[in-house]
């Protein structure tokens, strides 16, 4: 009975991760690629093919591994060492996944503006924002590492509690 319950939980989380790390980014980048310029202006939003292929490759690659790890982690019993290990691996892969977004050019946005005969450009570098996000992710790595150590050190207690339930 426990095995079936675990498998169902693992499958549900795998589907959630496939949707959030593969399907939604894929659809978003495809939508951006097919965008023309903003109506009534010369602001081009379209993405070139090379960039699109590169980001889709990394999104698919890491999305697949993260979803696989999610199945392994969430189908494991709670507070088990294998759940701790795979949760930690998943967080590290998430960091790689987030950083791979820079290949899309999404971290360096530049708009060329033409108003009448005047031309100008607006550049937004959100690389620092990604850095900030990765810094917060580092705290999650510490938290997951602590969880793993806790599961290993208190393994006997956790097992006894599980048996006693």
């Amino acid at each position: 009975m426990g095995a079936t319950k675990n498998m169902v939980r693992g499958t549900i989380f795998t589907i959630i991760y496939i949707v959030t790390t593969l399907v939604i980014p894929f659809m978003t980048f495809t939508w951006i690629k097919n965008l023309g310029s903003v109506e009534g202006t010369d602001i081009a939003l379209a993405m070139d093919n090379a960039r699109y292929n590169q980001i889709i490759f990394w999104v698919s690659a890491f999305g697949l591994i993260i979803s696989g790890c999610a199945f392994f982690a969430y189908s494991a019993p709670s507070q088990s060492v294998r759940r701790g290990v795979f949760a930690l691996i998943q967080i590290i892969l998430n960091c790689l996944y987030i950083w791979s977004y820079k290949f899309s050019g999404a971290t360096e946005i530049e708009f060329l503006l033409t108003v009448g005969s005047n031309e100008g450009a607006v550049a937004i570098d959100i690389q620092r924002m990604v850095m900030l996000y990765l810094g917060i992710y580092f705290l999650t790595i510490i938290l997951k590492s602590y969880d793993l150590i806790d599961f290993i050190v208190n393994r006997k207690k956790i097992q006894e509690r599980r048996i006693g339930e």
Binding site: M1, G2, A3, N6, M7, G10, T14, F57, S60, A61, L64, I65, S67, G68, C69, F71, F72, S75, A76, P77, S78, S80, R82, C95, L96, W99, S100, R128, V130, M131, L132, Y133, L134, G135, I136, Y137, F138, R162, I163
Partner: protein, 115 residues
């Protein structure tokens, strides 16, 4: 409703920005360090085709299913049986009403003396 939502979103964005601005001097150097090792690790990932990633995905699912069916985290059968035995057989019961006796010979429930 949508107009109200806009205000709520603005407020959330404001407070998130406030927290992030406060954390920025501490978190940003950590983020910079994270990028160094993330970029180093990315060099080891194959960039030719997705087959290897599909293989890893399927491998993780299959291994996860096998490991789970073998070690689902349930109570071991031996412990379950032992636990049942302790409750049913090792505790003395009153011959009159069947209530658990403990160390006493007199049943605390019906007062029957068990010899």
């Amino acid at each position: 409703m949508l107009f109200q939502l806009d205000d709520i979103l603005r407020a959330i964005a404001y407070y998130v920005g406030l927290i992030l601005n406060f954390l920025k001097p501490y978190i940003l150097p950590v983020g910079e360090w994270m990028i160094i090792w993330v970029e180093y690790l990315l060099n080891f990932f194959p960039t030719e085709d997705l087959t290897i990633y599909f293989a890893i995905f399927i491998f993780l699912i299959v291994i996860g299913a096998i490991v789970n069916s073998k070690w689902p985290g349930d109570k071991p059968k031996a412990i379950k049986e032992k636990k049942g035995e302790r409750i049913d057989d090792s505790v003395a019961k009153c011959s009159n009403c069947g209530n658990a006796l403990g160390d006493s010979e007199i049943c605390p429930y019906c007062g029957h003396v068990n010899k």
